[in-house]
Symmetry: C2
Subunit: 496 residues, 2 copies
């Protein structure tokens, strides 16, 4: 057997494990009775250790060396070797005791965080978060040494392969220049139009679910290879050809679940559109977190908060709930779903103010990993940056630096991918509309075929064949820049 | 670490895998979209191979030898060593190529069987079933050589540790003597009482589910450690502290789902009542298939088809569906749920005629494994025995020897445990009633506490501490005999 075949077989086996983990993780969040938490933790820990053992198998190093000089490999196989090398380099960078210490510190910190957030008590969290931060820095340093990257860039690289903070600094600087003034402008414009009338509830959960399922079908979700369920925190998970998205229903506001479902459906379409031939291989995986988020935001923000989509969807919404009236007209719905407001909470933020929440977190986590500020000063730095970027000051840390689980759970380097994703979404949607003049008219008549076909060909079906920059250049004509996103915001919020 | 601790740790790890397999299997039957079938098969195959590798680890042999002479072990630990030795002896008896050949033959045979059953076409199935049988005989021979058992007893031993066909022959002979005449008698008695009025539907699925959940709670199901869902074939599965039962709803006949739920709840109470200290160890598992089936039949047949239970349940049923009338009185429900009829299909059979279906299958499979009759003659032997035991002749093999998946799927030696379970259920329920005079009155007022407490102490909480005979002798005063079951049938059907 060739070295390449050995690698492919080996990672095929690893995918059998990661698919099992994906379903068990989904089950933990949707179906599992609470008394099973201990049993499940043992199963997941066992499978994760087994998976880590597989992808750090010392034979992989030899196979990679031999496969690297195999001139008979095609482009996909070569890219697969590159992706396997990427995984192997990172996963073998860490000594086992560092992995274990980090895992324990995260468990303790997460547990403390839940109470600390409820109590708005940063002081109690501080020593736990300090330990997580210290170990994240150590992990970043170990990986960075193997990759020739700074500790922060090495952490970022896990979520955004090839992503570099120097580049993000520039992109985010452009947004940080533009957004504070623009937010003032939009809020003034929207205030000038008078109050927004919103559909008022209650909206029965069954009707919300039926509407969500029917809209998933409109967007092109393949129900033979996926499901919709309920969880406390919506996500897209599952396994290869088994893509499971979740939502949660608010009886007073159906759009919260519905827009969430559209968002997760964007993620799901990416997963369902990955190349079947390499579905279980590293090269067949989604390219990066920013590209993944671009697909969810493309659906939720670009496509489904558009006048075209709401023109199509308004009658469906009225029918789903047996309601009508001024609040149920497409124009009113559009105003409602594009309302801009300054708020403290990231996950409740609109499209215009969201990047401020991200830029703030990005700048802080980079400084903290880089040891440029003490963790104890983080809450005041957070609040100062909220004032600078959004003009508001959190009254306490529950509404400030304690709101997200990312840092307590060891997700350092993840935050920037949200806003990179928003920018990518704008650029990709713009390219799709330019490539096929029927994309927008299709959405207006509830036909997402033109859009999804283009995404399949240019993004989903490409898996990890190219690095992110090349993927984006091939699909949109250039690497990521901030201008298309800024134009989109101008058009929708200042000129629309 | 002591040899015993090594064994216990090793099997604790194995349970992490088997619990993962249990949940993935449950998911396959309840939640999984059909397009995921290939991905899931790969995950399950991987985990099963890994599990087999763990429980056949050569170090186990050394640990067993050392632990066998460890005089410091308590009774539970000694029994755990005995159970581990049992597993290890059986699982290491088979060469890998035999396991693989059998697994492939079963896959091919199952697939052919689905169509052959639909077509009532035994001839097409014959060569596939012949191969499965041949390999089952080979497996039984290999295991039998290590255990000092005949090939059939070695297969039986996998489901019923310590079970022997000589003993079953005698028990079943007693039933086969009694039942044909008794069936005639009961059918005549029931006919003399005039027609049974049954509640007529439709019965909405949501109301059926709510009633099922409320009755599960009455029986003592712990919803913090389990769930109820829907599947094509009802089962009790899941994992430690995560017991998942299923049912299917018939809009025209709510009792089908309800009695199925009571049946699976009986299994679930056993699983939820296993000793927590040894939950993940072999000694903490359910004793055998016949004891497991005794717990489901005790709930479904002994407790829930009783006048006491139906007196309690009738008002709840009326309220669940907002219905009333003569068919909804306890007496009418009791007549409906204890109606005896001769039929071709095992899974639709009542308590009186069910054993005939089992005795027939048991005698046939024993003769086939023992190479005492050619497989090609099985259909005519089946039909002859149906005439002898039940007095009816299947018009085709779909209603005859093609109806069950057990043989095509390699489940040889399993069938007798159903009727051993029915007899055990009668004997255990009888002992519980004698031990606590409040068992029946409790059921009549919807309080299963007295019954379940006795079962917890005498059956569920005992795990595999004792061999089946000793478990039953301790709980009921003697090993299994047929007389209590026969008395129960007489009392309920001829004297009731």
């Amino acid at each position: 057997m060739s070295a390449y075949s050995e690698l492919a077989n080996h990672f095929e086996r690893a995918s059998a494990l990661s698919n099992a983990i994906g379903i068990l993780q989904w089950d933990s969040d949707t179906m599992m009775p609470k008394g099973a938490v201990g049993t499940r933790a043992e199963s997941l820990a066992y499978l994760r250790v087994a998976h880590h053992g597989l992808v750090t198998d010392p034979r992989i190093g030899d196979w990679l060396e031999a496969a690297g000089s195999d001139t008979a490999l095609g482009a996909w196989e070569q890219a697969n070797v590159r992706e396997i090398r990427r995984i192997w380099t990172v996963d073998t960078a860490l000594p086992a005791d560092l992995v274990e210490a980090s895992s324990k510190a995260i468990s303790a910190c997460e547990m403390t965080w839940r109470q600390a957030r409820a109590d708005a008590d940063f002081a109690t969290l501080l020593p736990y978060l300090h330990e997580v931060l210290r170990l994240q820095r150590e992990i970043g340093t170990a990986k960075g040494e193997k990759l020739g990257l700074s500790p922060y860039d090495a952490l970022l690289n896990d979520y955004e392969p090839g992503g570099r903070s120097a580049r993000i600094d520039a992109l985010f600087a452009e947004l940080a220049d533009f957004l504070p003034g623009f937010t003032d402008e939009v809020i003034a414009i929207q205030a000038g139009r008078g109050p927004v009338v919103a559909p008022d509830g209650p909206f029965p959960v069954e009707a919300q679910r039926a509407l969500g399922l029917s809209m998933m079908a409109v967007l092109g979700f393949d129900f033979d290879r996926g499901r919709l369920d309920v969880s406390a925190h919506p996500f897209c998970g599952g396994a290869d050809n088994d893509v499971r998205i979740t939502t949660r229903y608010d009886q007073e506001d159906f759009a919260r679940a519905l827009m969430g479902v559209m968002h997760e459906t964007g993620h799901a379409l990416y997963e369902q559109g990955r190349p079947q031939t390499f579905l279980h291989q590293p090269v067949g995986q989604a390219r990066s977190m920013s590209v993944h988020e671009s697909q969810s935001l493309l659906m939720e923000m670009q496509a489904c908060r558009s006048r075209e989509f709401l023109t199509f969807a308004a009658p469906q919404m009225r029918e789903a709930f047996g309601r009508s009236g001024p609040a149920w007209e497409a124009d009113a719905l559009l105003r409602h779903y594009t309302k801009v407001e300054r708020g403290f909470i990231r996950v409740e933020a609109d499209e215009v103010t969201y990047p401020a929440h991200i830029i703030l977190r990005y700048r802080l986590e980079k400084a903290l990993i880089g040891d440029e500020m003490p963790l104890s000063e983080m809450p005041s730095a957070w609040n100062a940056m909220m004032r600078e970027l959004l003009g508001i000051t959190p009254p306490n840390d529950r509404l400030g630096c304690l709101q997200d689980i990312h840092w307590p759970s060891g997700g350092w380097g993840y935050f920037p991918t949200y806003t990179l994703g928003a920018m990518t979404a704008a650029q990709v949607f713009d390219a799709a509309k330019r490539a096929d003049a029927d994309v927008l008219p299709g959405i207006a008549r509830g036909d997402f075929g033109p859009l999804v076909r283009w995404l399949r060909a240019n993004i989903h079906g490409q898996g990890s064949l190219y690095e992110t920059d090349e993927l984006l250049t091939r699909a949109t004509g250039r690497p990521l820049d901030a201008s298309v996103f800024i134009s989109h915001l101008r058009r929708r919020y200042a000129e629309g």
